[in-house]
């Protein structure tokens, strides 16, 4: 064990790690450099030629972000859509997930384990299977044997954000319940007992004791869910549609290269615009990320 650790922290290992890091970053760096080059240069020469003839332009960013016609990006407004979609889509599963996880971990009731196993099993179901049923759930409501149980939602325009929130929350819940449950059930039972003998209700225990203790897990879950929702194209495309009113940025990015991909130079700048916010979130929550990565996976 110690020998492995020693060899992993040796100078050669560091060098290798550094080398891999550089190798891994090179394509991204090339993309970044490309995004500052002119269209005809991007299309005719490789990004490395920049070093022999350095010439930078912000044209791509200008076009992608603020282009006036819908043919040239308008990413700025889609960026807002993405934020509007992402924030609730992260908060809802976190909130519902932590309630459910607390109940499953600390409230004794019959069938608790079975419910937990059921939720755990739901993770295996690919979300693609649920797309069409969920879509008809929104558009036609629920009907069982001719009995109308739920009306159609009839959401249009910006109302479709609700559909996306709903979908992301559904798809995000199994993992968040599973993760938070594992984390919460690790908490020492003496804590709860002590709190209860002091007269604390479940609500108080949850808020004052459990939530602060599982903060790292919540943070890491938030990052996971955030990155997933932010980068998601499929759910956004289906539930938010492709119009400027409600479509997230990923949908716009997919359209931006043009019908026949002849404007692909825009993708360079588009990619970096879309990466800024995740980068900021990641860097500001990095601490939790590393700590939370181990959440629920290691016992004791």
């Amino acid at each position: 064990m110690t020998s492995v650790r020693a060899s992993l922290s040796s100078r050669t290992a560091s060098l290798v790690a550094l080398l891999i890091a550089v190798l891994w970053t090179t394509p991204t760096f090339g993309l970044l450099l490309s995004s500052f080059r002119q269209e005809d240069q991007i299309k005719s020469t490789g990004w490395w030629t920049f070093f022999s003839a350095p010439e930078l332009t912000l044209e791509n960013y200008q076009e992608v972000l603020f282009g006036a016609s819908s043919s040239s990006g308008q990413l700025a407004s889609f960026l807002i859509n993405s934020i509007v979609i992402t924030v609730p889509s992260v908060l809802f599963p976190l909130a519902f997930g932590s309630f459910a996880a607390y109940a499953l971990a600390w409230l004794p009731f019959r069938g608790r384990d079975w419910i937990y196993i059921g939720i755990f099993a739901l993770q295996v179901v690919p979300l693609q299977m649920a797309l069409v049923p969920l879509l008809s759930f929104f558009s036609q409501g629920v009907e069982v044997f001719g009995l109308h149980l739920l009306p159609a939602w009839n959401l249009e325009g910006t109302g479709r954000f609700v559909q996306v929130w709903f979908a992301h929350t559904c798809f995000g819940l199994p993992l968040s319940i599973f993760l938070l449950h594992n984390f919460m059930s690790e908490l020492p039972g003496e804590l709860m007992e002590a709190a209860r003998s002091d007269g604390a209700t479940h609500g108080m225990i949850f808020r004052r004791i459990v939530l602060p203790l599982v903060a790292p897990a919540l943070a890491s879950l938030a990052i996971f869910q955030f990155l997933w929702v932010w980068n998601d194209l499929l759910v956004g495309l289906i539930f938010a549609g492709g119009t400027a009113e409600s479509a997230p940025m990923t949908v716009r990015l997919a359209q931006m290269a043009g019908t026949r991909g002849n404007e692909w130079q825009r993708l360079t700048a588009g990619a970096f615009v879309s990466v800024i916010i995740p980068l900021v979130v990641f860097l500001s929550m990095q601490r939790y990320f590393v700590r939370g990565l181990l959440a629920g996976s290691v016992k004791g």
Partner: protein, 444 residues
């Protein structure tokens, strides 16, 4: 790491600020139409506050032109048209339809897909007025693609011509080469150019997941020429097998050009470089004089490097990929078909407008657009290649056939055919490849 990333964030943030300062938004507003302009739209009635949704594979600049073109119509009829363009049309339209949220109108780029929806009973047959307009506007070849089981569903919209060979008129004039009018002349010209030490053809078939499609167009074009339109239809319907000796011979005819190291790949390298060259870049060596000819559709006009003049007397232009002899004129092409999922009055009215020559003419005035409709005014064409395309499509001698891979089942048309052709370019022999494609045809 942390420092570098922070630097990166800073740099990008700075870029945002900088671009923000330079932005001047001047949206091209549709010219304000007076009530007099509305006379032209009075036949479509008033549909105040009604909405029509359109779903289409056309996006970006071309989509803008469509929307801009519809503004007067929207203003005069009072309806609102919501347009949605997507790169995943084939998959998404299925999901939308199954999920109970189909669009009102969809622009189908593939007649095969259209037929599948029509057979499933999802589409409404075209209203009688649309049918009349379509019958007066398009040739029988076109109408057939919008007809399923005897019922007419969809009028064509835009079109593109695939049977083009791009060349440099300047170089041709300098060297004294003549635009060929028969296949034999084409091969002689190829031989002459090759003898002069220049690789006559260049090609590129790399296109991400769709790699191989430009090669399938080549094959379709030659099968259409070699076997004729009837046999072509049989081949598309799999009544004529993929590995039939006649098909093998036609594919070998393409191979005589595309798999000959003497003839390809001008500006890029040996035969195999075709598979790794992006189709967008396939013809670019023509502008640098490293290649003489490139077979690609009319839309390739948008791919030339900035500053290239596309005209009869310009830097590049296209000639018709010749048929067996000068008299036969088969044209391979593609286009969109407007089908309706609903039949509300406003949807019908808009569907009717889309089928008129007025719509096509107005659209042409705004920017590059090709329509196969009779009665379009060629003077409205925005560039010479659109004009040439429409002349060809409008020629009564022209036999039009739709891109075959768009008509075949998806497993073949956007699967094994593409893949097979890529393998073929990479060195597999014709017979093996065609056997493979034929075996992949789904049993029906």
């Amino acid at each position: 790491m942390a420092f570098a990333s922070r630097l990166l964030v800073g740099a990008v943030g700075l870029a945002l600020v900088a671009t923000g300062c330079g932005s001047t938004s001047t949206a091209p507003e549709a010219e304000g139409s007076t009530s007099a302009d509305c006379a032209a739209f009075s036949a479509y009635g008033k549909h105040d506050g009604k909405k029509v949704s359109v779903y289409s594979p056309i996006r970006d600049a071309e989509a803008d032109l469509f929307q801009q073109n519809w503004k007067p119509f929207e203003k005069c009829t009072g309806m609102k048209i919501t347009y949605e363009g997507t790169g995943e049309f084939e998959a998404q339209i299925q999901v939308r339809s199954d999920g109970g949220t189909p669009p009102d109108l969809a622009f189908f780029p593939q007649p095969g897909l259209l037929a599948r929806f029509a057979k499933a009973g999802k589409l409404k047959p075209a209203p009688a007025e649309v049918k009349t307009l379509a019958e007066e506007g398009w040739s029988k070849d076109w109408l057939n693609y919008g007809t399923v089981d005897g019922a007419f569903y969809a009028a064509p919209l835009g079109a593109s011509v695939k049977s083009f060979v791009w060349y440099s008129p300047k170089t041709f004039q300098e060297k004294g080469w003549k635009v060929p009018t028969t296949w034999d002349e084409l091969m002689t010209l190829t031989e002459t150019i090759a003898a002069g030490g220049l690789k006559p053809w260049c090609a590129g078939i790399e296109s991400g997941e769709a790699t191989g499609w430009p090669a399938t167009d080549w094959i379709e074009d030659v099968i259409l020429r070699e076997l004729g339109p009837e046999e072509y239809d049989r081949w598309v319907a799999h009544e004529l097998k993929f590995n039939d000796p006649k098909v093998v011979a036609a594919v070998d005819k393409v191979g005589a050009i595309l798999k000959n190291d003497k003839y390809v790949n001008g500006g890029y390298g040996p035969v195999k470089s075709i598979a790794s060259t992006a189709f967008q870049e396939g013809g670019v060596p023509i502008t640098t004089g490293k290649c003489a000819m490139h077979r690609q559709a009319s839309f390739y006009a948008n791919f030339w490097p900035e500053g290239t003049k596309v005209a009869q007397d310009g830097d590049v232009f296209a000639f018709y990929l010749p048929g067996k002899d000068a008299s036969s004129k088969p044209v391979l092409g593609a286009g969109e078909f407007v089908a309706a999922f609903t039949d509300r009055p406003e949807v019908k009215a808009f569907q009717r407008y889309l089928a008129t020559a007025e719509h096509a003419n107005a659209r042409m005035k705004l920017g590059t657009y090709v329509s196969a409709r009779k009665g379009v005014d060629l003077a409205n064409a925005q560039n010479p290649i659109d004009k040439l395309s429409m002349e060809m499509l409008g020629d009564p001698a022209t036999v039009f056939r739709f891109d075959g891979s768009d008509l075949m089942p998806a497993a073949v048309g956007s699967g094994s055919f593409w893949k097979g052709m890529t393998d073929w370019i990479n060195g597999k022999d014709t017979r093996t490849v065609l056997d493979y494609i034929d075996a992949s045809w789904p049993p029906s």
